[in-house]
C-alpha cells in the first residue's frame, strides 16, 4: 500500500467505525437476539420490504453494510500484522482485506438496486 491511499482508507475506517458504533448494537440486539428468542415481535416480511423499498432506507443500508466492512478491512489488516506478526505478507493481506470489503460493497449495491 502506498502512502497516498492511506488517508482515504483511514477515512473509510473511521466512518465505518462510527456507523458500526452508533447503529450495530441496536440492529444486532433486535435481529440477532430479541426477535429470534421471541422477546419482541419481529416485523413481517411485507412491512420490512415496504421499509426497504424507500430510497432513503436503501441509501442507509448501503452505508450501514459497506462502510463497516471497510472498517473491518483496515483494522483487521493491522490485527494480522501485529497480532500474528505477519508483516511480511503486507500486500497479500491488504489485497484480501480490502478486496473482501469491495466485493461486499458491490453485492450490497447490486441487491439494493434490484429491490422489487
Amino acid at each position: 500500500m502506498t502512502g497516498g491511499k492511506t488517508p482515504f482508507l483511514w477515512t473509510l475506517f473511521s466512518a465505518g467505525g462510527t456507523l458500526a458504533a452508533l447503529l450495530f448494537p441496536v440492529h444486532l440486539f433486535l435481529s440477532g437476539l430479541a426477535f429470534p428468542l421471541g422477546w419482541l415481535e419481529a416485523p413481517s416480511h411485507d412491512s420490512l420490504l415496504n421499509l426497504v423499498q424507500h430510497p432513503l432506507t436503501r441509501l442507509y443500508l448501503f452505508f450501514l453494510i459497506s462502510l463497516p466492512l471497510f472498517h473491518w478491512a483496515h483494522r483487521f489488516r493491522y490485527t494480522l500484522y501485529d497480532g500474528l506478526k505477519l508483516k511480511h505478507l503486507t500486500t497479500l493481506i491488504a489485497v484480501l482485506c480490502y478486496g473482501c470489503a469491495l466485493i461486499g460493497t458491490v453485492v450490497t449495491a447490486y441487491t439494493l438496486w434490484n429491490v422489487p
Binding site: 458500526a20 441496536v26 416480511h45 463497516p68
Partner: protein, 138 residues
Amino acid sequence: MSAEAHYTRYHPQWYRRRVSVWWWLQSWRYTKFVLRELTSVFVAFFAVITLWQLRALVDGPQAYTQFVRGLKSSPLVAVHGVAFLFVLFHSISWFHLAPKAMVMRLRGKRVPDWVIVGLNYFAWLIASGTIAWLLLRG
C-alpha cells in the same frame, strides 16, 4: 590455487528479544487492545449477516421465512450473543477514543473530552431509539 579472494562480509547482529505470538496475554492493557482490535471481526460478521438478510428479504417471503428460522438455531443465537458483547465494546471504546482522535475547538477553547464523549452517547441513544421504533411499530 584458489581462484578468488574470499571475504566475509560484516554482519552486524543486534540484540533482539524474540516476541511470542501470545505477547498480548502478558498484560491486561495489551489484552484489552487486542480484544478491541478483534471487535472488527464481529462488526464484519454482522455486516455480512445484514447483507444476507437483505438478500433473503428481496428473494421473497419463502426465502425470508427460511432465513428467520435459521436465526433461531442455538449456535447462531450464541454467536450473536458473543458478537453483541464485542460490538458493545467497540461502541464504548470508539466513543471514548473520539475526543482523542479529533480535537474540537469552540471559540479558541478546546471542547472538554467528556462533552464529546457525552454527545456520542447521546447520538447513540437517539439513533438506537429511532431504529427500534421503526422496526417495532409493526
